[in-house]
Amino acid sequence: MEQMKLLAEWKYTPAKVHRGYARQYLSVDLGKKDGVFTCETHPVSDEMIEKFTGGRGFGLRILWDKVTPSSKWNDAENAIIISGGPVCGITQYPGTGKTYSVFLSPLTDQTYNSNAGGYFGPFLKASGFDAFSVSGKAERDVVIYIDGDEGAVRVYEWAPENRNSYFVTEALHDHFSENEDDKRNISVVSSGEAAEHSWWGAMNFSFYDPRRRVARLKQAGRGGGGTVLRDKKIIALVVKKRDFSGKENDPADLASLQKIGAKLHLEIRQNDDTQSLMRKVGTAHLNLVMNDYDLLPVNNFKFGRSEDIHNIDPDAYEKLFTQGYADGCWYGCSMACAKAVDGYEIATGPDKGKKVTVDGPEYETAASLGSNVGIFDPLWTIETNYYADHYALDTISLGTGLAFVCECYELGLINKEHTNGLELKFGAKDDLLELIHRMMDGKDEFAAAVGKGIRKMKEIFSEKYGADRSVMERIGMEGQGLEVSQYRCQESVAQWGGYFLTLKGPQHDEAWVIFMDMVNKQLPTFEDKAEALFYFPNFRLWFSLAGICKLPWNDVEPSDNRIRYRGIEAAKVPEHVQNYLDIYTAVTGKPLSKEEMILQSERVYNYERVFNLRMGKGTREWHNIPDRALGPVFPDEWNVRADYFDGRLREAGIAPEGLPVEEKIVKLLEYRRKEWEKLVDAVYKRRGWNANGVPTLETLKRLGIDFPEVVEVVKPHQ
């Protein structure tokens, strides 16, 4: 391995974690390409805990002080703040190793928060830090290493021959370990060479798999965190903590944690085979369900199902994933959804012929680098998944972005001259893969343009290639600059909001309310939809404060959940909500009711909204929604479900008889745009925001976050 040169070193006394908190955070600044490195530890106050809880809340609070309203993502002061939260790092309950990364995003020019599994967050806390902030820009490539046993932070200069993620991660697990057993005590956050050019740069968080004897990667993929990391010249962040016992959080009530956790382990063992198949197929089990309900994105979200679905259904993926391994991305996760394909022989690109372990594909990747680009070949998806992770491209934005490119190509908005010879039609396996390879080094002008994301592509394609901007605005599936994740939301009015009335853009971690709205018809009025778009985003945000994975909440349910509870109450999975309240209390020693849980989230939700307002966003005009998200745009989309869409027109009071399809489309979209505005009004009202989407002073007071600096931001907008 290339020599690592020590540039700076600081010693610290690791704080002992007590009841979930170390009560200090680490802040490293890499200067302004001037070689001036600083390292500080800061206390975490009672007020910070009370108002921001942890994880994403801490990240936002720390970032607020790091940046100014004019800061951009590539300014030195932008920081990446990684924090788990008070529950993060327990081992007794499934899904409790999650870590949140907060930063200003190149895609959205506002705050972003992206979560990942892997061991970084728990090891960071056990090393004595509730959060780790890294800001500044180094002159040359560096690695920041935290040794939690020794109490040392070091910055090394390192110029590896290959800056892509699998290479970097393996090399650093090797370098910082004393032997094979020691490798599991290390976690690496890395990015890749595509992140040096593309705004879709992902951050890969590692954990060492002792059975496969390889470092596995879990992605904080969304929002361009990897791009920010490489802009700072950071090759990797590394933390090491030996002898993890599962009691590092020093919980107030270990006996309760054990009891609640053991119960859920048993529940997963008993129910997973009949409920979700997470242990066998991971989230890729969703492909078939989404297809059945016309929710699977096919060809840039034009269609919702395909006859070729059986090529990528759960049976197909079950055969490809290695079965019977303990596939949790943190200790104690019996949901074990971190599936992997072992012994896969790479077919293209720089690693051609190499046999590798590929992490995933998860559902989002199986759909984005699959059906959404018109490809129903799992081996192609596995190949692209490998390279996307290795080069560090967010598979969701990449797939949605490529789908947009394919549609532009098929519509004749761009051609082979623009693409430098690539024929980028839907289903063009070889040419799409070649485009991904070209995105790695950024030398190809077209590939570099694609890597900037759909919002920028619309600008470049119209200005440089003369493409019709208005068509691209209709079909480009982005909101606030972020590409939509892999669910078609056209037929669920509530999910329009679930995607497009979000803090950071259309990402499925706020609310997934399609079934309760579209299938089960449990949200008939705008007030009902607004209530769901109040509760679920806040409930789910809580996971990001505590350091918890969403999946064990409702991807397994108690056997009697739907007998004991009905409708939306059943969708909340009350027994599991109670588990979260109980484990929070068991760790911190502080009682928590379900109302207080929502209050904790609401504080951070509104703080983040104000933060985005401070960055020049965060008002109604930024909650954009493209036509394709509301309904069919072209006749082929209508005609594939003509009777269904005629029915929707009738429901809207418009007689379809005698109308040409083009006119039907116009009328349905006009109607749905009006419905959208009604939804926005209802949701803003329920959230305690004014008609412009700004939290009111009353709301901020009620939540106790009416700090002077917050009030100052919202006051001109009242």
Binding site: T91, R211, F244, G246, Q258, G261, H265, A326, G332
Partner: protein
């Protein structure tokens, strides 16, 4: 493979096995700390003790569960992170835990309870590998 074999019809639910086990392994006379559990369920003994099936080995994230040379499943406490997946996934519900101990615990067919049982309801037997 060595394992502890209980005979339900001989068991009188006196608790001597749990007492001997917990005293030997946890230095405490406490049935909650015993590696064998005997409960009175509607007048009949419900005995939970590891049969060394090895179902827990594959689910352990740190490979802390391994068979020893006698085929007995042992926990490497250096590797164990107390996650308790093995508890939830044990087919015979015979992996136990207690907040006072760092790791879950199970029967290792040591035979201490065999000597303590007044009714001869327990024995350590050897099962040869087939073929």
């Amino acid at each position: 493979m060595k394992f502890l074999k209980p005979l339900l019809d001989k068991c009188v639910m006196c608790g001597a096995c749990m007492s001997a086990c917990s005293k030997a392994w946890a230095k405490k006379d406490d049935p909650e700390m015993s590696r064998i559990s005997v409960k009175n369920v509607t007048g009949l003994p419900d005995i939970r003790v590891c049969d060394q099936c090895g179902g827990c080995i594959a689910v352990c994230p740190t490979m802390a569960l391994q068979r020893d040379k006698n085929g007995v499943v042992q926990i490497d406490r250096q590797k164990c992170t107390s996650c308790l997946i093995c508890v939830g996934f044990c087919p015979s519900a015979s992996m136990f835990f207690h907040a006072d101990t760092d790791s879950p615990f199970k029967c290792v067919a040591c035979g201490i309870c065999v000597k303590a049982c007044p009714e001869g309801a327990l024995s350590v037997v050897e099962q040869k590998k087939e073929g």
